[in-house]
């Protein structure tokens, strides 16, 4: 412990990118996600604070770009009132896509009956699914009356921070139950690419990053018993079947845990018995349960104060 890891995104050619991977391994950093598209590669990684300049040097040599990615290791639920064409693919998909730029993993959730004013409601299952994430972004429409008076009932039972997007420019205090409100992203039937729309998406990213920063500061006061990134690495080493999973991000990092995209019945025992060098098993450090998403495994890591030690 004591090593501060900073999130970065490397974007460059596939050629010789393993030099970065090798150096990162030597330095004790972690690769969160590697996305290869044709001849391009995106590496989302956690780099030890004092060694960032070493990675930067290699990245410059390879003519790649190294960017800070403040939302790395954050899983965000982008919640749309329904899956109908009124709300999707614009603007909810644009919101989700834009949040991925700074490194977040986003999941789109369409509520079954979230539309309308009086009739809008969410199901217990949906609330539980949203609560598995680090943060929820609700994409609402263009009417301030709906956003202020009617839609906040959808936040009942949501325990994670709530970010709301909508058309009108409102203050966060006006939307009860929201931790952040971002205007200028209402209901649209076209892709968000005009100047002011992209500006609104950028302010959403800035606001979400700030919110995540606050959660991280809170977390620093009572840290987790083990870093999620370390659990990820151990899973990759000890459960080789994870390499056969085709989902993007077979292991998705969260601020306080991970989602492992392996079937629960067949693998939960092996995840629970994951052993660390210190001789500790994962089941001592974390709660492992069946995820509401498909049949995945959800790991929520306990706090140091609960376990009594951290590794």
């Amino acid at each position: 412990m004591g090593v501060v890891l900073l999130p970065y995104l490397y974007s460059g050619g596939v050629h010789k990118h393993w030099l970065i991977l090798e150096l990162l391994e030597d330095l004790g950093g972690y690769v969160i996600q590697k996305i290869v598209t044709g001849t391009e590669v995106n590496l989302i990684m956690l780099i030890p604070e004092k060694d960032v300049h070493l990675i930067k040097a290699i990245s410059d040599k390879l003519h790649g770009v190294l960017l800070e990615a403040p939302l790395t290791g954050v899983e965000i639920a982008v919640v749309s009132p329904t899956l109908a064409s009124h709300h999707l693919p614009h603007s909810a998909c644009d919101v989700a896509e834009y949040l991925r730029h700074p490194g977040a993993n986003t999941n789109m959730i369409g509520l079954a009956r979230g539309m309308g004013r009086r009739v809008a409601l969410s199901k217990d299952f949906e609330r539980k699914l949203i609560n598995e994430h680090d943060l929820a972004v609700f994409t609402f429409g263009s009417f301030s009356d709906c956003i202020i008076n009617k839609k906040p009932k959808l936040f009942e039972g949501i325990e994670v921070p709530v970010v709301v997007t909508g058309g009108p420019e409102l203050k966060t205090e006006e939307v009860s139950g929201a931790d952040l409100y971002v205007g200028g992203i209402g209901r649209v039937s076209h892709r968000l690419r005009r100047g002011e729309e992209v500006q609104a998406l950028e302010s959403l990213n800035a606001g979400v990053s700030e919110l995540v920063g606050k959660i991280r500061t809170e977390l620093a006061k009572d840290p987790l018993a083990v870093l999620p990134a370390r659990v990820m690495k151990e899973i990759e080493n000890q459960i080789p079947e994870i390499h056969n999973v085709l989902s993007p991000g077979p292991i998705t990092l969260q601020l306080k845990g991970l989602r492992v995209k392996l079937p629960y019945e067949a693998f939960h025992k092996r995840v629970e018995n994951l052993e660390f060098d210190e001789g500790v098993f994962l089941s001592e450090l974390a709660n492992i349960s069946r995820s509401k998403m498909k049949n995945y495994i959800l790991i929520k890591i306990k706090y140091k104060s609960d376990v009594g030690f951290s590794i």
Binding site: G116, R117, V119, G167, G186, R187, V188, S189
Partner: protein, 201 residues
């Protein structure tokens, strides 16, 4: 009446009317309705969960036959076939679909982009029939598109709907509560007002 010569969106908060105008514009363009709509007025009252729309259509073309989009000839000298030389390519998929259904895919040849040949026993008899075949009916597709348009632009939760489509007139009222009689009457008055307006706004 020019295309979209009147296009009004009213709401208590002007900026929200602006958002909605954009949604309407996007849907008009994605359903290619712009040439068909003459005057359009929408009133939004989110506080009452109410959406009212009245629109007047422009003159829409009548049904198109094969003769309107192509030249049809009966060839008997060399091969027994009806040769169709396409003039308006945009209706070709509809025409092909009709011909395939009637004469079978095996009997339809397309030697090039502008020619369709139908192999038949007695081309002289079949050619006039094909000439008078109704290929596309803009009124029918317009009706479909208009209903689709109304549903797409209405806020999704407003599932209680009233619509009237008569000739060139279209009225649509939607809410999430039971519709009040006066709401429908208001929409009817919107339409009457639209009929009186001449251009502008």
């Amino acid at each position: 009446m020019d295309a979209l010569e009147t296009f009004i969106v009213e709401a208590a908060i002007p900026s929200e009317a602006g958002f909605y105008k954009k949604i309407l514009e996007d849907n008009i363009s994605s359903l290619k309705l712009a040439p068909a709509i003459g005057r359009l007025k929408v009133i939004l009252r989110p506080e009452d969960s109410l959406f009212q729309m009245a629109l007047l259509l422009r003159d829409i073309g009548s049904a198109l036959t094969t003769a309107d989009i192509a030249k049809v000839e009966a060839k008997v000298a060399t091969e027994k076939e009806v040769r169709i030389s396409i003039k308006k390519e945009q209706y070709l998929p509809e025409l092909l679909r009709l011909l395939w259904k009637r004469y079978g895919k095996a009997n339809i040849k397309q030697p090039d982009r502008w020619t369709v040949a139908v192999v038949v026993e007695n081309p002289l008899k079949v050619a006039p029939f094909i000439e008078n075949l109704v290929v596309a009916d803009p009124r029918h597709t317009l009706h479909e598109n208009l209903v689709d348009f109304a549903i797409r632009v209405t806020p999704e939760g407003f599932r209680v709907r009233y619509h009237l489509f008569k000739g060139q007139k279209f009225v649509f009222v939607a809410s999430e509560d039971a519709l009040k009689k006066e709401w429908i009457e208001e929409a009817g008055k919107m339409l009457e007002a639209l009929e009186r307006t001449k251009g502008g706004v």
